[in-house]
Structures are given as C-alpha cells and as structure tokens.
Symmetry: C3
C-alpha cells in the first residue's frame, strides 16, 4: 500500500539523517546504527508510549528496524557522498517530517485522543526522533532553534484531524496533510523563514 511504502521511505531517510549526525560526532559503527534507528523510530516510540500502545509498533514491525538500520549502515560507509547531497537530504527530511506527523496524528485519533491532543501527539511523532538524536549528541534540539520546523508540522496535523472530523477518507487526507507539511518546510528552508528571537535587552 502506498502509505506504508512512503512511511518506510521516511524511516530510511530520517535514519540516514541521524546516522550522518552520528558520523560527524565521531561515534563508532554501533553508535551510528543506534542513532540512526533512534532518530527514525524515536518519534513513533514516543507516540506509542503516550498512547500506551504496547509493545511499541516501531519495535514490533521488523521492516522499520531493517530499513532504519540498513540505511544507517549505508551512511556509515558512504557518508562523504551522502553529505554532498545536502539539498536532497533536507528535502527527504521534510518528506519524513510530513509522513511521520500525519501517521502519528491518525494513530492518536484512532486511539480516542481528542482533536487538539491528536495534533500534539502527531507533532511529537514527527519531531521526537530528531529531538532524541540531538539530546544524545548533546546538542540543544535543532527544532527549538532554527527555521520553521516543528511549526511546519502543525498545519498538516490540523488537516488530518479536520478531515477525520468531517469523515473524509483517511488515505488522501493524510497525503494532503503530509504534502502541506513538506511544502511549508521547503518554503521555510528556501526563504530562510525563522521564528523571531527575543531581544537581548536583559
């Protein structure tokens, strides 16, 4: 099915981004694979923990494990080439953000979360892996500092919850939500949209 396939692509791409960060932090082979898997699966695990889905889907579905681990392994050996594809990596990451967010929002709604809670859990599912990656690498999470990132996830999560409220078919609505997130994120990168920072007058 298309959505499943797209989700696996997202897992692979986000896993690669985590592995690339781990290579740059000089982690060893095992650390690179773990960080790739944590980045790819961490958001989904956080979502499942918040929804008390046990054991977490991301740890049960072996395709997620194989794709994220394999993608991290590939980055370990090919990282100079991957690093050169900077724009492609950023684009793929935007696709992953869109897919993860809408999938998590759908899951939260399906487990009885109210609309605003489903949006929040959707955003956590979308950005959670990246936050874990940054905390493990001892960085202040990227999503809190630069460019519109997590904020880009919000409109997509809202599209999905509104679609569910109006009883529209989940598949096309999810795709539309993911596309919207991806579009906002790419525009933010392209136009250098940043959220404002408070003045230094203290």
């Amino acid at each position: 099915m298309l959505l499943t396939l797209l989700a696996l692509v997202g897992v692979g791409v986000i896993g690669a981004s985590g592995a690339l960060a781990a290579v740059r932090a000089r982690l060893d082979l095992f650390g690179v694979v773990v960080l790739g898997m944590v980045t790819a699966l961490g958001g989904g695990i956080a979502r499942d923990v918040l929804l008390a889905i046990s054991p977490p889907t991301s740890l049960v579905d072996w395709r997620n494990l194989v794709v994220s681990g394999g993608s991290a392994l590939a980055v370990f050996w090919l990282h100079p080439h991957v690093a050169r594809l900077r724009k492609a990596v950023l684009l793929a990451d935007a696709v992953g953000l869109g897919l993860f967010t809408t999938a998590s929002t759908v899951t939260a709604l399906g487990h009885g979360a109210p609309m605003h809670t489903a949006c929040l859990i959707g955003m956590i599912g979308g950005i959670g892996g990246g936050v874990l990656r940054d905390v493990l690498l001892r960085e202040i999470p990227f999503v809190l500092r630069k460019e519109i990132y997590a904020l880009a996830a919000l409109p997509g999560a809202m599209v999905v919850t509104l679609g569910a409220r109006l009883a529209l078919p989940a598949g096309p609505v999810s795709l539309a939500g993911a596309a919207l997130i991806c579009l906002v994120r790419v525009l933010a990168l392209w136009r250098h949209w940043n959220a404002p920072i408070a003045g230094a007058d203290r």
Copy 2:
C-alpha cells in the same frame, strides 16, 4: 474548585520559568513556547506515562495547554520585566513544586501505587518538567546540583500518602502537603541550605 485553580496557577508559573530559561538560551519564539509547555507539563506527562494513563491528562486538558503556552508567550515579550522579579519567580516556582508534587502523589495513589511508589512518582511529577527543561537546554539538571529542591518535595509527598492511609480528606491534606513543600523550599533558598558535596580527595 480551589485545587484546580491553584494547579493552573502552578502550570502558568512553571511555564514562565521554562520560557525564561529558553529566552536566555536564545531559542526562537517557537522554542520558547515549546520549552515553557514542556517545563509546565513534562512532570505530569512523565507521571501519566509511569501510571499508563493514556493519553496523558496534561495533553488532553486544553486549559493546561492554553495557560502554559500563553504564559510562555507573555514571557517572550515581557522577559526583561519578568527577569527583574527574581524573588517572585523563585517563590512562584516553589508554589508550583508543591502543587505538582502533591497532585501527582494523589494521582499515583488513586491508580493503586503503593505508598513509597506514590511518593517517588509524586516527586517525579514535581521535578520532571524542570529536569526535561535542563536536559533540552544542555544543562546538568538544576535539581541535582543546587540547594534543597527535590528533597523539599519529599515531606509533602509523605504527608499526602500518610493522609490517604489515615483516610483524611484529600483536599486539605494536599494543600497542607503543598504548603510544607513550599515552606521547606523557601527556607532552603533563604538560608542557603545545600546538600553536601563529596570531598575532592580522589
């Protein structure tokens, strides 16, 4: 109800303290709001995850979200004034610690946790948000380093569990526990009580 109102005040105050830390770390508007909400709601979310309450109450009750987010927004624009109210912020933080700890202890007891477990989960509910704030800002958590903080939460949690054991009414006992925590914390600040540090003879 008084306890609910007080809890919302706690959410607002702790959210402001998280937002203030985020402004100082030069996070952008979105990061400030997220960090305020994480600080205000993180302890409650940790408590709910440990008790398998799903979805977490803090993400369902929209009043928590509005108050913590609004408080963080206000700090973003007014932070020079907030920073000047240093003593008021510390006092309000002590009130928040007391309210969060006793509320979490009551919740844990209500979900069948034994007394010592309820005390621990109460303390986690009280200090969890501050720990998350510090980890996200790449600091060694404040509660592990300076002045009596988490330790101040313990007597209040014990008052609540003892009160429940003696079947005393939960409302007044919670208020007494929260007041005790607040008192110990303010005394620790005023008298510069610190836990000892191990000698450097290594």
Copy 3:
C-alpha cells in the same frame, strides 16, 4: 532465589557506578543518590514503560530502591576507595549488564513481545540506565562511543529468546545468557575491542 539475589547485586553495582560518575561531576549528596538510583533503575523503568507495566516494577519493589540508594550513599562517603577498585567496578558493571539484559528480555517475552522486539527491549533494559546517567551528566552516552558495550548485550538476549522458543527452563538459560554477555564485555575490555569509526574523509 538465585536470580533475584543476582539481580539485586546488579542493582547495587550499577547504582554505585552511577553514583561514582555523579561524585566526579560534583553533584551534591541528593544528586549522587538520585543519579545512582536512575542508573540502577532507569533501564528497568524504560522497559516497563515500553511494555505498559504500571506502575513500573522498579519503583514498586522497595528492595531495588533500598539497595540502589544505599549503594549510592556508600559511594558518596567511600568514593576514593571505590575509584581505586577500577577493574572490580568494570567487572561488576559487566555482570550488571548481563543480568539486566537477560531479565528484561524474559520480561518482554512474558508480555507477548515477538522475539526480535524482546531482544531490543532486553538491550534497552540493559543499557538504558547508563544512557540516562550520561544524558543527565551532559555526556554523549558512553555506550555509543567506546568499546563493545551494548553490542555485547545482543548475543545474551538472543540466547534467552532462543531458549524460550525451544521451551528450555528460563532460569538456567538466563544465567547462561548473562554469563555470555559478561564474557563478551570482559573480553572487549581486556582486548580493547572497539567498533570501527567512519573515515574522516569529508
């Protein structure tokens, strides 16, 4: 029972290792005790959260709390002597890794996790406490950087899941798995086995 006793020894030893790290980071008495308890119990709590076991066993069984807290207190006063026992600490840590991993794998299997998920949750139970310790002390987690550590946990987790598949008795199989983990870890320390690091050609 032997396994329970061994698990308590593991809790004490891992708690001591966390406390030692906290003393070195100049945390105060309370911070040392908390960090010892987090290191000793964090992996088990993560496992219980992933399996929706509530409240987490590690927070309910008071023996875990007493042993880990007491061990951390002892380190606070005796740390110059403990630090001198470097090899004994490393050996004891290897024993703890083995016991925690196999116990968590058994628990995951008992809660219906498939084999590969049980292995992953077993490893998380084995290394989770150490990861939390490092994150709280603002270090990139040790297990991602140096020597074969988490990787040593994998064969033991696999022995336990295979043993369960073949319906072998859980006690002896767990002991064999723990011994295998301990052996691999000690060999890695002794022979300075490290996983490779990606080339710097970027």
